[in-house]
């Protein structure tokens, strides 16, 4: 069951971004690991759907970690302490250390932001942006892009099946793949553009390009207290980062 929402999405997103900033500023593996184990892990477990979020994090960060380990573990010409010489490739301690440190940082970066994004209530975020007076064109573009993505994927799937029914076979060669891509993309884009032109007329008819403030159907879940908290968080992280970076050797 999804958890009950306590904070405004903007506050949650900002907290995640500031946490990433702190990880980058402090730049110690102990701190990164602590954030991962004490911050991200409980948040995922309490999110109400830990399995899905865990899977998404593993799918995004996993391949990257593996490829980083292969790249730096085997090919790190700056490394001097050689563990195994495999001819072209050399396994070095420095390479493995670099891969581990980079891997940890990437995992924290991915896990923090993905956890925040996966538990995000997007309509609520867009409503908050409208209530806070953000650029309405930005709100429109972001909102309708997020809404369009599943629609585009579903439509592409349907066109692919229609083309397959007409005899489309995707071969292994790059030319064959590109032809297959084009046979799906062309009708997809034409259909989407026709839809878009209709939407343009509808939006114009409803005064989309007229100036003035906008209202939102969703109530404002933001509070003055959360706004103050957000400002305080930014200020605190800013001051801490400056002090840390100046004080660091």
């Amino acid at each position: 069951m999804p958890r009950r929402r306590i904070y405004n999405p903007l506050t949650e997103l900002l907290a995640a971004v500031l946490l990433v900033v702190l990880v980058l500023v402090v730049d110690r593996w102990e701190f990164s690991l602590a954030v991962l184990l004490l911050g991200v892990l409980p948040a995922v477990l309490l999110s109400g759907r830990p399995r899905q979020i865990g899977l998404v994090i593993a799918l995004v960060a996993g391949p990257l970690l593996l490829s980083s380990l292969l790249l730096h573990g085997l090919f790190f010409p700056e490394g001097t302490t050689v563990l195994a010489d495999l001819g072209v490739a050399r396994v070095t301690v420095e390479g493995l250390t670099f891969a581990a440190l980079m891997g940890l940082r990437m995992t924290v970066f991915t896990a923090v932001l993905l956890t925040a994004a996966a538990t995000l209530d997007l309509p609520d975020l867009l409503a908050t942006m409208t209530h806070r007076g953000w650029n309405r064109k930005l709100v429109f573009v972001v909102g309708s892009a997020v809404g369009l993505i599943p629609h585009v994927a579903e439509r592409a799937h349907r066109i692919t099946r229609a083309q397959q029914a007409r005899g489309l076979v995707v071969g292994r060669g790059p030319l064959s793949r590109m032809r297959a891509l084009l046979t799906v993309l062309t009708p997809l884009v034409i259909g989407l553009l026709v839809d878009a032109s209709e939407r343009t007329r509808m939006l114009e008819a409803r005064g989309f390009s007229s100036p003035g403030p906008r209202s939102s159907y969703l109530p404002d879940s933001d509070t003055p207290r959360q706004r103050r908290t957000r400002r305080a968080m930014v200020a605190a992280v800013g001051v801490f980062s400056a002090a840390w970076l100046v004080g660091a050797p």
Partner: protein, 305 residues
Amino acid sequence: MSSSLTLASDPAVRRPRRLLIVLGAALIAATYVFLVVVQPAEIAGGVGSTASLVSLFGFLGGGALLVGGILPMLSTSSLVIMPLGIALNIAIGQIAGSLGMQIYLDAIGTVLVAVLAGPAAGAATGAISNAVWGLFNPLALPFAAGAALIGLLAGLAARYGAFRRVYFAPVAGLVVGAVGGLVAAPVAVFMFGAAGTFGTNAIIAVFRSMGDKLLVAATKQGLLSDSLDKIVVFVIVALIVYALPPRAVRQFPFARTYRVLGTRTGTGTGSADGGTAGMSATGSSTGDAADSRRTPTRGNDAGVA
């Protein structure tokens, strides 16, 4: 349909905020210069936190300023196809990434928007696209400025005639891809240690085994992959826009004014009643019958502009 029938238009709303655009471009350029000139020594010794902070904030902040400056000047028809471009970028980029390909194919939507609606819309599409993609895949987030640059350059290429012949498109793609690769390489190195897909990492591994530094190897890989990627993307987009019904292209003032597709884009007056040309005028053998939702009956619509 004009909104001025009901509400007074406000010319100030359409004016681009030049200061924001200049600041954004300057911030991106300064970040790039800082990363390339100052930092290469640091990455070999450690993972370099300052460099990653600078690359994250310089490129993201620059992209945000650019978007803030560009959005007020865009017309509704440009704004409406931007989500379409963003959705295409993410849907196709996600597939290409999960297949472990050596190219990314995540700029088809950006280039399409840039060709139809101009460099400003292309740049905004690129930047917002990576920001939205960041909600599903945070690794895309730091590349927002590079994506904006691709959109800007693709729009400029279209404006100066790179799409008037299909065979010009790969040349423009090569140039745009090379610039894009140069800009993306430091981000990949300082944020993620140049780790990408297995395909791109294999190329970096080849250069590393020859003894190149990480930034040099990633830049060479970026030049190779991005150029190839953008050649493919530009050719795909050129083939798509040539298969579009003329009236679908003519609804975009940019494509009309600069005759992006040469004589096919019309004479510049761009009247909406060109719609009588119908959908079948350019129907390629691939696009014709596939999507039953394409509804040829729409050729009877009053007009699209």
